[in-house]
Amino acid sequence: MTLLSILGVLSSAIFSGTSLLYTTLGEIIDQRSGIVNLGLEGVMLVSASAGFAVTAISGNPYLGMLVSVIAGGLMNLILGFLVVSRRANQLASGLALMFFGFGLSAWIGRPYVGAKIRGLPRLPLPGLSNLPVLYSSLFKFDLLIYLVIPVAILVWWLLFRTRWGLGLRAVGENADTAFASGRNPLLIRYQALFAGGLLAGLGAAHLSIAYTMNWTEYMTAGRGFIAVALVIFSKWNPIRAIVGALLFSGAVAFQLLLQSSGIQISPFLLDTIPYILTILVLIIWGGTRKHAAPASLGRVYQGTE
């Protein structure tokens, strides 16, 4: 295995892991406030199609990115209305949101299938430009890739070092106690969902506007669910999520490398490893409370009326 192929896997992992990481960060915020968003798949699809459509019309990928982000936030607010205001079951509402996303994104994106867009421009890292083209093109990233790690650190800081984050986690642990100590669980959960939606929108924007430069129906192909698995794998921690996302997408990149080296290992079995690893990690943690999910995850907050 040459240096080039190792760097190649790393580069591929970074390219394809970025959208996953943004989405995972969004879901971490949702779940830290006590809400499971199973509709991520739908949220991403609507964001991706809306962002792609706007990019195709306006020719400006940054405008498309903005629309993606807003679309993601709005989609999550629908979930917020159902599970926070109407106190509906979170899993069912999430799945309903997923089906909504399937339909709405197909509708929005249909005229733009096969449209040619100007993707997010790739900016070379300073200092790398005098390397051979082959190497420098490995690490010529777009804006969203450069931003993803700072955003992950920002999310960590927001969750663990600010009053807002403290309140959000308190609501996720126990909404009643949080309410008793003067916080407004409903508002906090809406904020968390909106913020999470914005991040999922960024992930979708990277997928459609920067990475594939394409829109097709159901193009997320399960990424929303991978993000949910990643949240668990990274123990609801944004910093661990960076490692998790790299590992998950690195597995795909490594699988492709093996495939094109003529090594006969089923790519499908390799693709299952992240999920099985997550389950194993969960089993190893066992029932110990220290590692467990936010305590009121999935609970309907009945309020105090």
């Binding site: 080039l4 591929s12 390219f15 097709t216 192909a221 094109s260």
Partner: protein, 395 residues
């Protein structure tokens, strides 16, 4: 109070809607034309053009034939489905009296049956199914509806009212391989394929044989995405190939847009397939490409259905019969390369070059086509080997 009034509003609206839907025909005058899919009125279509086709359009009221066309993906994908869609639409251009009902993103296998049933219930007398996995549902329906003609693209089954048509791409792939072999500097070519399908392996083999014929050092790496249209996987695969040093990328998936855009963004040459629209995605690093142009063939098939002379024939037609076409060369392709590619193309057309003439050796060194023999079409569809020089697993 408030809720009560809301309730009554809903009740009123609901009853209105129910009434409107219940007595449907009475309610139609609300909108201007009740049927958007109205037949192509009696416009004076008889004179204006002298179509090259054997049929003259009978200028009568109502369509002379309703054609139901179903595609497995979106009809504007700049790839396979768009090529097929445009071919189907060419029928309408040439025979104005036909009416076409189209459906895109139709589910595979038995999921397509209800779409075809609905088309037949809408009066379709001819069904054109262009997705690979629509062959068996179409064949099964052909027994149920003996009066409807079924044409399927790219399969092998035949029946009394069921036939298969398609282009004949291996020659085109060989010619593209020549172009790739001449253009590559790293001597590494990348091929992103959807499935280890017999035809796909044949295409990759033809491509590599073409490249190796002008550049003996060349290697072709094949990577599968296991989906006709998973853009993210396609981008992953393209990046992986480029990272391993490939500097010409080609593909056999439904829509080439992601792969070509990715190659373009990394400054790597690409060769398109499926639709001639692919070139729009690589303004700079485009070499060339081939696409299906089956409009003439489908027009002829439809005309035989219109005049009642349709016969179930297994129809395959090549680059040189107009069923496929070559895209123009890109700006970076030198004149010598263009000339050489066109010369090879002429030789293939003349029959002096036969792509799969033996001896052909596979990856493991076994002779798969013996000296003096030629791989037949039948065998091409079930190829399960890669020729020597291709890296990747044919399974």
């Amino acid at each position: 109070m408030k809720t009560k009034s809301l309730y009554s509003i809903v009740a009123v609206v609901m009853t209105t809607v129910l009434l409107l839907t219940a007595c449907g025909p009475a309610a139609t005058p609300t909108e201007a034309p009740p049927e958007p899919t109205s037949p192509p009125t009696k416009a004076p279509t008889a004179e204006p053009t002298e179509p090259p086709e054997p049929t003259e359009p009978p200028a009568e009221v109502g369509p002379c034939l309703i054609i139901g066309a179903l595609h497995g993906g979106p009809i504007n994908d700049a790839g396979y489905n768009q090529a097929m869609h445009e071919s189907v639409m060419a029928i309408k251009d040439n025979i104005p009296c036909v009416e076409i009902i189209e459906a895109e993103n139709v589910p595979e296998e038995a999921g397509a049956t209800s779409t075809m049933e609905n088309m037949i219930q809408q009066g379709a007398g001819m069904i054109i199914a262009t997705a690979f996995n629509h062959q068996y549902p179409a064949l099964e329906l052909s027994y149920k509806y003996p009066d409807v003609i079924f044409e399927h693209a790219g399969g092998w089954e035949m029946g009394a009212n069921f036939a298969n048509f398609f282009g004949e791409p291996p020659d085109a792939w060989y010619i593209m391989g020549v172009a790739a072999g001449l253009m590559t500097e790293t001597n590494k070519l990348g091929f992103v394929a959807a499935f280890p399908l017999g035809w796909t392996l044949t295409f990759a083999n033809a491509f590599h044989l073409g490249a190796a014929s002008v550049n003996p050092d060349v290697e072709t790496t094949v990577t599968f995405t296991f989906s006709w249209g998973d853009s993210a996987k396609e981008a992953d695969a393209t990046n992986s190939l480029i990272n391993q040093g490939a500097d010409v990328i080609t593909m056999h998936v439904d829509s080439p847009t992601t792969i070509i855009s990715t190659a373009e963004s990394r400054g790597v040459y690409s060769i398109g397939f499926q639709s001639l629209h692919a070139q729009e995605f690589a303004p700079e690093y485009w070499i060339s490409g081939t696409g299906y142009t089956l409009g003439g063939t489908l027009t002829w098939l439809a005309s035989t259905v219109v005049d009642g002379t349709w016969q179930p024939i297994f129809l395959r037609c090549s680059l040189f019969d107009g069923c496929m076409a070559m895209a123009p060369f890109g700006p970076q392709v030198p004149q010598e390369v263009q000339d050489e590619v066109l010369a090879v193309s002429a030789e293939v057309e003349a029959g002096t070059i036969v792509v799969f003439a033996g001896p052909i050796v596979d990856q493991d060194g076994n002779i798969v086509v013996a000296e003096g023999e030629v791989l037949t079409d039948d065998l091409m569809s079930s190829v399960d080997w890669f020729v020597e020089g291709i890296i990747g697993s044919p399974k």
